[in-house]
């Protein structure tokens, strides 16, 4: 009767180990699947980031080209002003003034349409760096352009899946010990049962910690 009771106990423990193994295997599979999903999201974010960078580069380059054209006319206007100041008077001055009016007019036209004046520095240069940084910040706000966050989450989830699989090995050892306890006779069976319980408890605690911490 005593042996029957012990056999029932080991059978229940084997059932518990099986259930625990099933749960751990399930959590490992889910973590692995979520890691794949995070990798996919990271890939999508990387595509977004690359796309936004290319688009921002295009926009800023185009603005900078327009700024160069503006500078060409603007500086020409200043040189004409120098020439007017040096000439003193006469017909030449009238035509120089006309030319100056024309080139400064064209410079203004370019400034008003083809690039944002906000990035013009007081010294007459163009702050492309500021424009690209503002655009990059804008892109980051508007859409997911940070793949590293997803990839790091994917790495964490993969590590979680790996650790859960390691606990499965301990559960396997526990299963083996309970099976031995059921087969063996004599006092050894108790030693195996204790060993099985130890590995079961360690595995359950380990898996629970992994679930809580990761």
């Amino acid at each position: 009767m005593k042996t029957e009771g012990f056999k029932t106990f080991t059978a229940i423990m084997i059932a518990l180990v099986t259930i625990a193994s099933a749960l751990v295997a399930w959590r490992a599979a889910v973590a692995s699947s979520e890691a794949s999903q995070a990798d996919f999201s990271g890939l999508a974010a990387a595509i977004n980031a690359e796309q936004e960078q290319v688009l921002n580069d295009i926009t800023v380059s185009v603005h900078y080209q327009a700024f160069l054209a503006y500078t060409r006319y603007n500086e020409l206007g200043y040189k004409l002003q120098d020439a007017i100041d040096a000439a003193g008077g006469g017909d030449t001055v009238a035509s120089l003034k006309q030319l100056k009016s024309d080139v400064w007019g064209i410079a203004y036209g370019l400034q008003s349409i083809f690039f944002p004046s906000r990035y013009l520095r007081p010294d007459g240069t163009y702050d492309s760096q500021r424009e690209i940084q503002e655009k990059t910040a804008e892109s980051e706000r508007k859409q997911d352009t940070k793949p590293d966050l997803h990839f790091s989450r994917a790495d964490d989830l993969r590590l979680k899946a790996d650790l859960l699989v390691v606990t499965l090995i301990f559960l396997g050892v526990s299963f083996w010990m309970f099976t031995c306890a059921q087969i063996l006779r004599g006092t050894m069976k108790y030693a195996f049962a204790v060993g099985g319980m130890f590995f079961l408890a360690a595995s359950v605690m380990g898996a629970s910690l992994i679930e809580i911490l990761m």
């Binding site: 059978a11 399930w26 036209g109």
Partner: protein, 561 residues
């Protein structure tokens, strides 16, 4: 064979049968799991492919459009200005030559074709229309397919995960059945019953998972939606609404179509229809901050301030860094009569803006470009509200009708004025110094007068002819005012707005060179060239000294006759 042995044999036979049945079920579910996982991978692959194609179409299209704008239109524009200059100088032959070259350029570029450009209108080419035709419709279609396949992939992955759980549970029931053969009595029966129940649950669960429909987005819906986005991007909102209607007919509850239709209704000015669409879009899954932002603003415009406050708060909970929504919340609280809370929220927004600027500086970066738009818009919204309350609304302003305002109007005006100055000061201080507005005394300027110089026949100054409205053709105007309490060398910024939008080409930035007090005439001018005059419209001139707004005035340039 005694009765116990017979019962034992029947029991073992039953267990053997159950194990075999569960093994078949496990095989079927393994197949379903593998199939679902494969389908999920297929959908993810298609999704990635569409994302890459969308990127290629968008970057390629943007490159082409930019080059058309920069290479072709800019060249055309320069030649056009040169022709105008030659005309003004009386050199008709030169003007004709420039126009011939200009027209030759026009024939070389699609953006300068009659579809997008009417040179006689004086407007720039329809860049958004060109973008829509070149890539926006295509890239939207591909992006929608990317999202749709991503959703399908997720659904297959969810199925696959459910089948993994099913398989795990079947493993448990198999173990229970196996163990039941090693024991006898009640425990054996309990193990058999438990294993059977688990197997039946798994069977039912697997059926439900398989029968659950997968998300589907018909191609017709995507096509109509993409066309709608293209039409909206070129400003044809009525036609866009029709396309979004078609998309929604093909796929009721299509969240993006509802949201974009809401945007089109908004720009048409049909706020109630817009509101209905935004609400439906949120219900259909558009729970992002953009949808909430627009929903909150539409509630505000329709006078539903409690709803506006609730939605703005929810959006800020999602993303507290959205200063645009922060100021919308403060505005809604103000018109709702919660003046103290409104002031606190405005201050919170200002503090956040200062912090954002400081963080960006520390990181060696810049705040987003929209940061400045939202800072400007926050003050403009107060201005629009005050104009509406004064019975003087502007066509470009958005504000609720005065009858819906719950606050005491005198108290509201006082707070609105104070907040307006706070926002204006902060924006200029952050943009030009990178810091909060200094706690220095504000200089004083009298109300601006606007005038033109009158000269005698020798070109000597006679007087200023002041007015508030000027005939078209004006190329220089003087801002006349008296001042006191100024600091020599302090930052001096002039900003000019035309019809509510700043014209940054008219900005003047420098150091205050005049005395501490006196009279001044500040020119705002195109007089350096004969080619430009002030466009018709309502101009608002703002003067900042040491990052404090100390003067603000309005003049109008009449329509060209």
């Amino acid at each position: 064979m005694n009765q116990t042995q017979a019962s034992e044999e029947r029991s073992e036979n039953l267990v053997a049968f159950l194990i075999a049945t569960v093994a078949v079920l496990a095989a079927v579910i393994t197949f379903l799991q593998t199939y679902s996982s494969g389908k999920g991978d297929e959908a993810d692959r298609a999704s990635t492919q569409f994302a890459l194609q969308a990127m290629q179409v968008r970057t390629g299209g943007e490159t082409r459009a930019s080059h058309e704008w920069q290479g072709a239109y800019q060249t055309w524009y320069e030649l056009d200005l040169q022709a105008l200059a030659a005309d003004l100088a009386g050199d008709k032959a030169a003007a004709d030559r420039f126009r011939l070259v200009r027209d030759r350029i026009a024939g070389l570029s699609p953006i300068l074709s009659s579809k997008y450009f009417d040179p006689a209108s004086g407007e720039t080419p329809d860049y958004y229309g060109y973008q829509a035709d070149t890539y926006i419709v295509d890239s939207t279609r591909l992006s929608e397919k990317f999202a749709a396949y991503n959703e399908i992939g997720d659904a297959w992955d969810d199925r696959s995960k459910a089948f993994i759980v099913n398989l795990t549970l079947l493993a448990v029931s198999l173990a229970l059945f196996g163990l039941s053969t090693t024991i006898s009595g009640f425990m054996r029966t309990a193990f058999i019953v438990l294993g059977s129940v688990i197997s039946l649950v798994v069977l039912a669960w697997a059926f439900v998972v398989m029968l659950r429909p997968l998300p589907a987005l018909p191609d017709t819906a995507i096509e109509a939606y993409s066309q709608g986005v293209g039409l909206a991007s070129r400003g044809d909102y009525s036609a866009a609404v029709q396309q979004f209607d078609a998309a929604l007919a093909a796929k009721p509850g299509y969240a993006n179509a509802l949201y974009e239709r809401g945007n089109s209704h908004f720009w048409i000015g049909d706020y109630p229809a817009s509101l209905a669409d935004y609400e439906a879009a949120v219900r259909a899954g558009r729970t992002d901050t953009n949808a909430g932002w627009n929903l909150g603003w539409t509630y505000y415009l329709l006078g539903r301030f409690d709803d506006a406050i609730r939605v703005d708060r929810a959006v800020l909970e999602q993303d507290p860094s959205l200063i645009g929504v922060q100021f919308n919340l403060a505005l809604a609280l103000m018109v709702n009569g919660q003046l103290q809370e409104a002031e606190a929220e405005y201050q919170k927004g200002v503090d956040q803006a200062i912090r954002e600027m400081s963080n960006a500086q520390q990181a060696g970066t810049q705040p987003p470009s929209s940061f400045w738009d939202y800072m400007d818009a926050s003050a403009a919204d107060i201005d629009n509200l005050l104009n509406e309350m004064s019975g003087n609304p502007k066509p470009w302003g958005q504000a609720p009708t005065p009858t819906t305002i719950r606050a005491d109007q005198l108290q509201l005006r006082a707070l609105a004025d104070k907040m307006f100055y706070l926002l204006k000061d902060t924006t200029v201080a952050l943009e030009f110094t990178g810091n909060a507005a200094p706690q220095t005394p504000r200089g004083i300027a009298t109300a601006f007068q606007f005038g033109q110089e009158e000269l005698d026949e020798k070109g000597n100054f006679v007087r200023y002819n002041t007015a508030t409205s000027f005939a078209f053709g004006l190329n220089e105007i003087q801002v006349l005012f008296d001042y006191s309490g100024m600091k020599k060398g302090a930052l001096e910024v002039w900003k000019v707005y035309r019809d509510g939008v700043e014209d940054p080409t008219l900005r003047v930035i420098g150091d205050w060179q005049l005395e501490e007090s006196g009279s001044a005439a500040k020119p705002i001018s195109y007089a350096y060239s004969d080619l430009f005059v002030f466009s018709s419209g309502r101009y608002t001139v703002e003067f900042y000294e040491d990052s404090h707004l100390i003067g603000r005035g309005i003049f109008t340039v009449e329509e060209k006759k």
